[in-house]
C-alpha cells in the first residue's frame, strides 16, 4: 500500500465514521503495523462529538486485503464474536463498527478500540531465553488458560454468536473443520502436496468426538495477545473464530511452532499444568489423544496457510511476505510428517 493510498483510505474512513457518528470526524495519520500476515492492522486516532463534547478515541482498523492468505475476508464473524464476548471472562477489545461492503474502503473491515499492551512473538531469543520474564510468566500462564476456559465455557446458544460457522452435532463437528481445510487447500494449492493428502486421509479416519461445541478462537497462541503490567489485556486476531471442538484450540496452542525452544506451551505453562487447570475451569477432562489429534490437524492447517500465502502472491498480492512463506512450505510439510509419526 503506497502513501497516496494511505491518504485515500484515511479520507474514506473519515467519511464512514462521520456517517456512523452523525458528526464531523477528524482522523490522524494511519500507521500500519508490520505484524499480522493476513488482515492489515492500522492504528489511528480519531475525534468526534459525544454529548456536545469533543472526545478523542484511540482506534484500530482491521482491513481485509483483496489478495490475502484467507481471502475473501468478511468482518461479520469476528465482529459478532467479539461483541458477544464483551464483558465475558475473555479479554477482548471493544468493537465499534464493521462493514462487509468492500466498496466503502476497498476491502471489508471493522473498527475496534486500541488496547494497550505488547505482543510477544513465539520465536525465542538467542540462547533459548523464553518470551516472558519468569517473574510474570506464571501469572500470564494462569490468565492464558483462564481466558481460554472462559471462551470455551461461553454459552453462545441464543446469542448472535450462534450465527458463527461450524455448528454441528458432537460427532460431526470435527469432520466439518477437516472438510473446510481440505477445500481451502485444494482451492489454493499451486501443485498437489502428497504429504498433505496423506495427512488428510489420516485426519479423516481418526476424528475424535467433541466433548462439547464451543466458540473456538482458531489461532489462540503466543503472538495473539497483548500484555501490560503482568496482565493479558486483550486476545487478538479472531479471523478464524468458529464453532467447533474446544480441543482444536488446545491442540493449536500446544504446537511446537509456538514454543520455540521453550519446553512450555506458548512459553507460558507446562502441558500438564495446562491440562489440569483447563480441566478444573471447564469441567472437561482433557483427553491427551484428542489434543494430539488437533496438534496434527494444526500442523496441517499451518502448512495449508503457507500454501494459501503462496497462492495469494501468485494471484496478485503485493505483499512479499506472502512470497517468503512459499519456500517455508517444505518446513511445514516436514512438521506434518513428523507429527503424524509422533515426533512432535
Amino acid at each position: 500500500m503506497q502513501n497516496g493510498e494511505f491518504d485515500e483510505l484515511r479520507q474514506k474512513l473519515a467519511r464512514f465514521l462521520s456517517e456512523q457518528t452523525g458528526c464531523v470526524v477528524e482522523i490522524g495519520e494511519l500507521k500500519r503495523y508490520p505484524v499480522g500476515f493476513s488482515w492489515f492492522t492500522f492504528e489511528l486516532d480519531a475525534a468526534w462529538d459525544e454529548n456536545g463534547k469533543r472526545v478523542d478515541h484511540k482506534l484500530i482498523l482491521r482491513w481485509g486485503p483483496k489478495y490475502g492468505v484467507l481471502a475473501p475476508y468478511f468482518a461479520h464473524d469476528q465482529f459478532i464474536a467479539l461483541k458477544a464476548l464483551e464483558g465475558s471472562g475473555v479479554p477482548v477489545p471493544k468493537v465499534y463498527w464493521y462493514c462487509d461492503d468492500s466498496a466503502v474502503l476497498g476491502g471489508n473491515f471493522f473498527i475496534m478500540e486500541r488496547v494497550e499492551g505488547e505482543a510477544a512473538l513465539p520465536w525465542t531469543e538467542s540462547g533459548g531465553k523464553g518470551a516472558f520474564d519468569e517473574s510474570i510468566r506464571p501469572q500470564l500462564g494462569e490468565q492464558f488458560v483462564a481466558s481460554l476456559a472462559a471462551l470455551h465455557n461461553f454459552a453462545w446458544q441464543g446469542t448472535p454468536a450462534a450465527g458463527l460457522a461450524g455448528a454441528a452435532p458432537l460427532d460431526e463437528v470435527g469432520m466439518r473443520q477437516i472438510l473446510w481445510w481440505e477445500q481451502y487447500l485444494h482451492e489454493r494449492q499451486l501443485s498437489s502436496y502428497p504429504i498433505l493428502e496423506h495427512g488428510m486421509l489420516w485426519l479423516k479416519a481418526h476424528v475424535p468426538k467433541a466433548p462439547r461445541v464451543s466458540i473456538v478462537h482458531g489461532d489462540y497462541r503466543i503472538g495473539n495477545f497483548l500484555v501490560r503490567d503482568a496482565r493479558i489485556t486483550a486476545m487478538l486476531d479472531w479471523e478464524l473464530v468458529h464453532l467447533a471442538d474446544p480441543n482444536e484450540d488446545l491442540g493449536w496452542m500446544c504446537m511446537r511452532t509456538w514454543s520455540g525452544r521453550s519446553p512450555l506451551v506458548c512459553h507460558l505453562i507446562s502441558r500438564e499444568d495446562l491440562y489440569r487447570r483447563y480441566g478444573e475451569l471447564t469441567g472437561i477432562a482433557v483427553d491427551p489423544a484428542a489434543v494430539r489429534y488437533y496438534e496434527i490437524f494444526g500442523n496441517f492447517k499451518l502448512a495449508a496457510i503457507h500454501v494459501g500465502a503462496a497462492r495469494s502472491f501468485e494471484d496478485g498480492s503485493a505483499d512479499l511476505r506472502m512470497a517468503a512463506m512459499g519456500p517455508q512450505i517444505a518446513r511445514m510439510l516436514l512438521q506434518v510428517e513428523r507429527s503424524l509419526e509422533g515426533e512432535l
Binding site: 500500500m1 503506497q2 502513501n3 508490520p34 505484524v35 512473538l121 520465536w123 525465542t124 531469543e125 538467542s126 540462547g127 533459548g128 499451486l190 501443485s191 498437489s192 502436496y193 502428497p194 504429504i195 493428502e197 496423506h198 486421509l201 520455540g260 525452544r261 503462496a310 502472491f313 501468485e314 503485493a318 505483499d319 512479499l320 511476505r321 512470497a323 517468503a324 512459499g326 519456500p327 517455508q328 512450505i329 517444505a330 518446513r331 510439510l333 516436514l334 510428517e337
Partner: protein
Amino acid sequence: MNSLERILEGIMNSLTTEVVPRINDAFARGQALAIVDLLRNLGPRLEWSHAILWQQIEAQEAVLSRVAELCAGQAIKPPPVAPRSFGEHPNANELVARRDELNGIVSATLIWLDAERRKLPAALASEVESALRRYMHEQLQRDMSLTAMPLFKEISKGAKTAAT
C-alpha cells in the same frame, strides 16, 4: 513456492512502490533502485534449476513405477502415469509442469490406496504405502536441504534482530 517470474516481478514492485518512497537517504534509494535494475536484466536469463527438478521427477517416476510393478497382476490398478511429453532438452517450465503432474499422481495414488486397500493383499498394500511414504520423506529431506531458516521474527518486527 511461487513461479520465478512472479517472484521477480513482486520484488521489483515492492522495492519501487513500498520501499523506495519510504527511504529517506538518497544513496540508499539509489541502491534499492539498482536492485530493481539488476532484476530487470537478470529475469530473462533466469530459470529454476534443472538439476533440482530432474532429481524430483526421477524420484517421482521411480516410486510410481515401483507401485505399478508391485500391483502388476492385481485386478485393480493404481492411477496411470502418462509418459513424458517433452523432448530431449526440456525447458524449466516443462520440467515444472511434469513435476506438478507427477505430484498430482502421487497424491491420487495415496487416495487410491486408501480407498482400495481392502481389495489388495495386506502385505502388498503395506509395501505400496511404505514406498510412497519413503518417497515423500526423502523428497521432504531434499526440499529442506534447500530451505533457509525463516526471518518471520524480523519481518514481524520490521527490524533486524538475531533469530534462532
